[in-house]
């Protein structure tokens, strides 16, 4: 009985505030836009009994989804978000792996400090860390001042308000999410394996390729999901660092909802985004469960 209470409280909370909201999004994505409050029809009228439910069901259609396929803004935004998310996951991995590797090779007494230095930005406001790049990347910003000062360029580079700035922003803000799981995997690695490989005639590079890399796989997978999935729906970074040409679906959804007040279309955008992300989310959950089981 107590076990039932322990399970049901968090369970019901998540059902009510995580799962049910998605069903509502799904429902509204099938409704029609209307100039009313709330701005969609039909609304479910339970007081009318079965007739109300029937009327509501007959009013649902796939119109918003057809609209999404007809206007090329939407599918371009999905594709461009996908491209930005995939490329920035790769960049974050390329930047993050050497840091995690360096940390795992560092002397034992340095490690707590290095760990703290990685965690510190993670606790610092995301918004502020994105904002910090505005002053660096702008036309008269610090990066251009530096590059012109040492004479590498004569004209200031335009970086802010382009996709390049978005990539920099994503790599910068999501870096701890990549470094921490990889470091956790590398730290568990038994060093005698590497010594054995070297004794058996492997070069250090071959040993890295054959032992370190495969054994850090779980960390790389976890880190990549932690970067890729949220980056796909990112809103803050493209709106602060990206330009008018930066198309990302998170921004489109936000504007559809707040600027155009088109709730059914915003909901349809969210439903499709969720369908795209459901496979990576399930894979991420499996990977985490597997790691937790392994930790036992």
């Amino acid at each position: 009985m107590k076990r039932f209470g322990l399970i049901s409280v968090p369970y019901l909370w998540l059902l009510a505030l995580f799962l049910v909201p998605f069903l509502i999004v799904l429902k509204i994505s099938l409704s029609d836009t209307a100039l009313a409050i709330p701005p969609y029809t039909p609304t479910l009228d339970l007081s009318a009994g079965w007739a109300g439910v029937r009327e509501w069901l007959s009013g649902l259609d796939m119109e918003n989804f057809t609209w999404l396929t007809e206007d090329d803004l939407y599918w371009k935004a999905y594709l461009s978000s996908l491209k930005i998310a995939v490329l920035s996951t790769i960049f974050t991995l390329l930047v993050g792996f050497p840091i995690a590797y360096g940390m795992s090779r560092a002397p034992d007494e340095w490690r707590p400090t290095l760990m703290m230095l990685i965690i510190l930005p993670f606790w610092t406001s995301f918004l502020i860390r994105v904002y910090a790049w505005k002053a660096i990347l702008s036309q008269e910003g610090f990066l251009n001042q530096l590059l012109m000062g040492i004479g590498i360029i004569n004209e200031p580079l335009t970086i802010l308000n382009t996709n390049t700035a978005v990539y920099i922003g994503i790599v910068y803000t999501y870096l701890p999410f990549m470094v921490l799981p990889i470091y956790a995997a590398l730290e568990r690695l038994d060093e005698s394996l590497l010594e054995a490989a070297e004794d058996l005639g492997c070069s250090r590079l071959t040993a890295f390729w054959l032992i370190t890399l495969p054994l850090s796989k779980q960390g790389v997978i976890a880190g990549s999901f932690l970067v890729f999935i949220p980056a796909m729906g990112e809103f803050v970074i493209p709106s602060l660092l990206g330009g008018s040409k930066t198309l990302m679906i998170g921004k489109v959804l936000y504007e559809e909802f707040f600027a155009n007040r088109d709730w059914p279309v915003a909901s349809a955008v969210a439903v499709i985004l969720l369908l795209i992300l459901i496979i990576p989310i399930v894979l991420f959950q499996r990977n985490e469960e597997k790691q937790r089981e392994a930790g036992k």
């Binding site: 322990l6 399970i7 968090p10 369970y11 909370w13 998540l14 505030l17 995580f18 799962l19 049910v20 909201p21 509502i24 999004v25 509204i28 993050g96 050497p98 840091i99 360096g102 560092a106 002397p107 703290m116 230095l117 990685i118 510190l120 930005p121 606790w123 610092t124 406001s125 995301f126 502020i128 860390r129 904002y131 910090a132 790049w133 505005k134 002053a135 660096i136 702008s138 910003g141 001042q145 870096l175 470094v179 999901f225 999935i229 949220p230 729906g233 809103f235 998170g250 959804l253 936000y254 969210a270 985004l273 969720l274 992300l277 990576p280 989310i281 959950q285 469960e289 937790r292 036992k296």
Partner: protein, 270 residues
């Protein structure tokens, strides 16, 4: 003692420079006297003064703090319960769904979570305000708490609990007297994580807040959307300093606890 190879030294130096230089620039330029944010024109603390005279910012900071304290506390209770269920409850009907609902919010794009919660609040006729932000923040941060706490619970020796039960404790007493003291560090870091996530959240708060409940990130976002503002640099510096003091303090105290435990164990053996 191991030494770092030149490759590792270079990658660590460059990596940490990349992480910290942007924040250092922000901090240094918050003491810049001029209105232009990228040109140094003498040391001054005038933007801090401006910030503390700005009523709108102070109000927003107060709302944010209230929301963060309440939501992180509820999230810690719910998240600890959820962690217990995940690690200890074994199999039960709907376990996969439960674990899915714990892990999915960790990676769910905020725009989706925010939109869906807003539509829920409207469907049940709940006015948007502090309450709705608290509900929203509790929901996503309880999942973070549960991940942090469950990672401590899996390494925990269950026979201690069983011993307490054998010695006549009720289930709750065993939890309060044995389990809780041991998982306390994880519960505290879960609370802190939930607290900072709530302080930091922009997207979900913009969906679920009402006109009378603007939070600090919403205020900051509307101020920096168009450009760089020296007042926000000052505010950022204050926030970065608070976090740095907190994180460094926490890591020093955990170091001391570990050292003390090692010493105690050493003495116990002798």
């Amino acid at each position: 003692m191991r030494r770092l190879s030149w490759f590792n030294t270079v990658s660590l130096t460059l990596g940490f420079a990349f992480l910290y230089i942007p924040m250092l620039i922000l901090i240094v330029y918050s003491f810049n006297g001029g209105k232009l944010v990228t040109v140094w024109s003498g040391f001054s603390t005038k933007w801090y003064g401006e910030l503390f005279r700005n009523e709108a910012f102070l109000d927003a900071a107060w709302v944010t703090l209230k929301v963060a304290v309440v939501s992180s506390t509820i999230a810690t209770v719910l998240g600890t319960m959820a962690a217990y269920v995940m690690v200890r409850a074994g199999r039960f009907r709907g376990r996969t769904l439960f674990s899915g609902m714990i892990y999915a919010p960790l990676v769910m794009p905020e725009v989706i979570t925010g939109l869906s919660l807003l539509l829920l609040f409207i469907a049940i006729g709940l006015d948007r305000g502090v309450l709705t932000i608290v509900l929203a923040h509790t929901t996503f941060s309880m999942c973070y708490v549960s991940v942090v706490v469950s990672s401590r619970l899996v390494t925990f020796d269950q026979s201690l609990e069983e011993a307490a039960l054998d010695l006549g404790c009720t289930g709750f007493e065993a939890f309060r007297l044995v389990t809780l003291p041991i998982i306390a560090p994880a519960v505290i870091s879960g609370w802190l994580l939930a607290f900072t996530l709530s302080l930091d959240d922009l997207v979900i708060a913009s969906f679920t807040s009402g006109p009378s409940s603007t939070t600090l990130p919403i205020k900051i976002f509307s101020a920096v959307r168009l450009g760089v503002s020296p007042e926000i640099n000052a505010l950022s510096t204050i926030m970065i300093t608070l976090v740095a003091v907190g994180v460094i303090g926490a890591s020093l105290s955990s170091k001391r606890t570990i050292a003390k435990r090692a010493k105690d164990e050493q003495e116990a053996i002798q």
